[in-house]
């Protein structure tokens, strides 16, 4: 009857208020951000920039597999945000990926593809191939038309041999024996173009990648700190972090610890919390 239908409509109205958030990007904040940015610019400030890795990453194919290398500096504008960040990301047990560009983009993109590749590998019952990871990454990046600022060096060894790809933010890829990406890519490529040979031995390949990243670290302001290496061969992965501590933290001679009572205490209130300690675990802070 009419009365019961009215009751139904009221119930439907309350359900539609809570929108179930489906996956993918949420663009809810774009309008708000645009207004905020206009207001901030009027006051003369600039809105915070996304943290980029301003990086040097590279890869080389040698006799038994691939060697990937990366520096460890993350910058926020021209200030160092992280002195020892990890830029070589896990994709699958036999495939790793270095990332340059916007830090959040490289982190999330590699995690998404790693997850999808694991599911794919369980479905096929086979070890994943590098070409599959490449295809998944380029199709995702092209879909976002370059808005995901991730420039990647993908390398690994599968049943068809060692492979190395470079992947650009707009979705193009190159399959090459040696590649470099990031703000220090020119410095690293200069080293590669001088000393690369096909079918190098492992030690020579590691030295070449180490020297290429070092060229980026010392000659590019966006790269710095240490050199991480990842050596992938058939059946074995050597994740060397750090492989070379190219820059030690400067040693300060003075002691800058404060004595107790240096900070003035204006007021003190103690509120006891009656809690029961169930589990205790200690995580040390990285004070390097």
């Amino acid at each position: 009857s009419r009365a019961s239908r009215k009751r139904e409509c009221r119930i439907m109205a309350t359900v539609s208020v809570c929108q179930y958030h489906r996956g993918g990007f949420s663009f809810e904040n774009c309008k708000r951000n645009a207004l905020l940015e206009a207001d901030i610019n009027k006051l003369g400030f600039s809105s915070p920039a996304a943290r980029k890795t301003g990086t040097t990453i590279c890869g080389v194919v040698y006799k038994d597999g691939v060697v990937l290398g990366a520096d460890t500096r993350a910058t926020e504008g021209m200030v160092v945000a992280d002195k020892n960040c990890s830029k070589i990301h896990y994709i699958s047990p036999n495939v790793y990926c270095c990332g340059a560009g916007t830090a959040a983009d490289t982190e999330m993109t590699t995690q998404i593809i790693s997850s999808n590749l694991e599911l794919h590998s369980l479905s096929t019952g086979r070890l994943p191939r590098v070409a599959t990871a490449n295809r998944m990454l380029k199709q995702m990046l092209f879909r976002y038309q370059g808005y995901i600022g991730a420039a990647l060096v993908l390398g690994g060894v599968d049943c068809t041999g060692p492979h190395l790809y470079s992947i650009y933010p707009h979705g193009s890829t190159d399959k090459l024996p040696y590649v470099t990406m990031g703000s220090g890519s020119l410095a690293a490529m200069a080293v590669f173009e001088d000393r690369y040979r096909p079918n190098m031995e492992e030690e020579e390949a590691k030295r070449l990648v180490r020297d290429a990243i070092a060229a980026g670290i010392f000659n590019d302001l966006g790269s710095g700190s240490n050199i991480d290496l990842c050596v992938i061969t058939k059946g074995k992965v050597d994740y060397l972090r750090p492989h070379d501590v190219a820059n030690k933290k400067g040693v300060r001679t003075g002691n800058y610890r404060y004595k107790h009572g240096t900070t003035g205490v204006l007021a003190k209130t103690v509120t006891p919390l009656n809690l029961e300690v169930v589990e205790e675990n200690v995580q040390t802070m990285d004070t390097s």
């Binding site: 200030v79 590019d220 302001l221 300060r252 003075g254």
Partner: protein, 225 residues
């Protein structure tokens, strides 16, 4: 919302300025002054030189540190040196630190509408032999300080100096005046920290120590990445 359409060929205006990085620092003590600077000259993401100090000796009692646009730093120091010579020839004596500071202010303001893109800090001894620091902005506003940091890492160094030399935000601390050894050690430590986090600061640190004996230099290596 920013529009990202391709609008056709865009004309980029020529900029007469470039930013060459670098940090300068000056500290005044009871009977000494220090002027320190890093020696890295950079542009964009590249390094032009690892050995380009930003302290320039003007007289036996005054050193100036200039950072910002290197072209303007060079021209400005040439002009200052010429004016010092002119003063010496007209007045038969060297310019005092205070006089150099006042003169620099007028030189900078003379270019008020096309400024020298330089952050200057003068360190030296005043007429009574006490340490003096004068800090400037690009158009000539200046004041006498006890300590000042300028250049790319100035925002990182200045709060640390406020705390360690000015004893700001600390209670129950013995406000002992700064000795030369402690000041030099502090300056070295402060630059080591700046080189960790500022990409434009690094390579080497040059400290000019001004006492009544004259100007002495010390060079300390910094991070090169």
């Amino acid at each position: 919302m920013k529009e990202y359409h391709y609008t056709g060929p865009v004309e980029h205006k020529f900029s007469p300025y470039a930013f060459n990085g670098g940090t300068v620092l000056a500290v005044a003590g009871e009977d000494f002054a220090l002027v320190a600077s890093d020696t890295r000259l950079s542009e964009g993401y590249s390094i032009h030189s690892r050995d380009s100090p930003k302290c320039y000796k003007l007289t036996d009692t005054t050193v100036i540190g200039c950072s910002g646009f290197h072209g303007d730093c060079l021209t400005l120091t040439k002009i200052i040196e010429a004016r010092l010579k002119m003063y010496k020839h007209s007045n038969n004596k060297n310019m005092t630190s205070g006089a150099i500071a006042a003169m620099l202010s007028t030189i900078l303001y003379g270019r008020r509408f096309f400024p020298y893109y330089v952050y200057n800090i003068i360190g030296g001894l005043d007429e009574e032999g006490r340490g003096a620091v004068y800090s400037f902005d690009p158009v000539g506003s200046y004041q006498r300080d006890t300590y000042k940091a300028g250049g790319s890492a100035s925002a990182m160094l200045q709060p640390l100096l406020d705390n360690q030399i000015g004893f700001k935000n600390m209670e129950n601390v013995e406000q002992v005046p700064l000795s030369l050894e402690k000041a030099v050690q502090l300056v070295k430590d402060v630059f080591i920290s700046a080189a960790e986090r500022d990409v434009y600061t690094g390579d080497a640190l040059k400290i000019c120590i001004i006492t009544k004996e004259g100007v002495r230099e010390e060079i300390v290596p910094l991070r090169k990445d």
